[in-house]
Symmetry: C2
Subunit: 315 residues, 2 copies
């Protein structure tokens, strides 16, 4: 048995669902019940770009999976399965012990989110660790939540709190203090908002991965509307509040939140709040959609605030 | 518009099919006609492991796609769509000019194989270029060709010629001569054997990616049988024949062929030959399946040959 095959057997076969054919054939085989569609999303994470070399191995795979699951949540799809591509640096810390914890973390999240591994590929590189996952979710045909449906008159909402992951990265880099570890935990383990039943309740949805302002820009552009964000209303965790208001811009532009950004008609607001409350997911109104273009961040006096950086630049 | 989004628009939007939602949303949405299954496979290629830095950019993306399509061919699935993850080295030769040719190569193969791009992710790395693709094919429910169905009494067949890609890599490394460029072309551009209608004709199938002997080992193990390969009958291209018989072991163990390995009951042999001939695909009987275990390479006198290396080791 060559290196790759025994490596896969040791770490990944335990994660494989029936559709994977036990990771023993050329393809996985899945079926899609009639009346349903499959939502597909893929993400890559690179060592020291999307996670840190020192991050606990249990959290690295979970973060990759959760970032992808967040895309399914944004479309209103129910998580189903995923594939995994692992490109491992030669002679690195990424040994059997590391991958054993990596796979244990994935196993935990598979139970939590109801997904199994379909297949994958394992290769080696002279560079840093590169991980890609492609996730598959199911949803009723023609019910996908889109970025393009926001309408003038809607209100703008977010789940959870905004900016914790970006502050968590600063904490892990030693630039700010994080006595409880809450912020660094939010950087390492996003909480994808799967399981909310928002079909029919919102006009538009997406997940916030590149920073609130930049991602609002996507909804504004795809929907052909203007978005006003009321900066003071953007929910902060108590850990973020403790750091003070000078971190506001960082919070509004920092990536990795993986909360949902939602555009809701006034008549559906109470049902939106109820749907989120049923799943114990906080949801907060942070602005409004109007005709026009672009994203405008307003202070408590309603004046436009100057923001230098818009969000995460991928390269 | 940040770097990633304009890069995607410049190079990849032209490749995107309707299910991609124009690469503008969180997921792609696909449906699966009733009575059908979806076959899924994923592969990663790393610079200077699976392709060479100097390879023409048009061929790099095509090779990635074709290796994946070969897995669909091995299951008897019809190519449908793919996702693409691109992890680009900082300040490298992989600039806009390179990616423009890379995408042009993909566009050509999309037409050839009837696939479109569903989505992807673009990231950066301090290491070499890493490319992953996940492909989707459709097939009638319960008709997938498997590795596990070979039966004692079957004969063993391969499509095309074996060992050209491994010799092509040696040629590109300057170790052997390749006056016509045929061998290096076979390394850079595999020809996945999609479109053969082998449903009901073969007991087992897989694609040869890691070397003939090693891949025969997978069929033997998954089917619980022994495989005898008659070395003299393994088809060689005329370019390989010109190099002489001393390259036989290299040809039987070298990777990257992406031909099909098939196990066929005696009563179906003529129909197998006919099905391949309809698509102008050469197919050759190279051995036999019997009860027992393992892969045995026999010379013209029926004696077992000693082979040192079994096939490609992934790491």
């Amino acid at each position: 048995m060559s290196g790759e095959f025994s490596f896969i057997a040791r770490h990944f076969r335990q994660l494989a669902g029936p559709e994977s054919l036990d990771l023993r054939d050329d393809c996985a085989l899945i079926s899609c019940p009639s009346g349903q569609e499959m939502a597909i999303s893929t993400d890559t994470m690179v060592e020291n770009v999307h996670f840190l070399t020192e991050d606990p191995p249990e959290t690295v795979g979970r973060k990759l999976l959760r970032c992808n699951l967040s895309d399914l949540a944004a479309m209103g799809a129910e998580p189903y399965a995923y594939t995994l591509n692992v490109t491992i640096p030669h002679a690195s810390r990424y040994d059997d012990v590391w991958f054993s914890s990596f796979a244990a973390g994935l196993a935990e999240d598979q139970k939590l989110y109801g997904v199994t591994l379909l297949g994958g590929d394992t290769t080696s590189t002279a560079g840093p660790l590169v991980l890609s996952a492609t996730v598959f979710g199911r949803l009723k045909k023609d019910t996908a939540l889109r970025r393009s449906g926001a309408k003038a008159g809607d209100s703008l909402w977010v789940t959870g709190t905004i900016g914790d992951a970006a502050l968590g990265l600063l904490a892990l880099q030693g630039k700010i203090s994080d006595p409880t570890g809450f912020l660094s935990e939010r950087y390492r383990l996003p909480r994808p908002r799967t399981g909310l039943n928002l079909n029919g309740l919102v006009h538009a949805a997406m997940d916030i991965s590149d920073g609130l302002i930049q991602d609002c820009g996507h909804i504004a552009a795809e929907s052909g509307v203007a978005i006003d964000i009321l900066a003071d209303t953007v929910p902060a965790s108590s850990a973020a509040n403790t750091l003070g208001s000078q971190w506001l811009e960082q919070r509004l532009t920092g990536g990795d939140d993986y909360e949902l950004l939602l555009s809701c008609a006034p008549e559906n607001e109470s049902m939106l709040v109820q749907a989120c409350s049923q799943r114990n997911v906080p949801v907060t109104r942070i602005g409004a959609i109007r005709s026009g273009a672009g994203v405008h961040v307003l202070n408590a006096e309603g004046q436009v605030m100057g923001i230098q950086k818009k969000g995460w630049q991928h390269f």
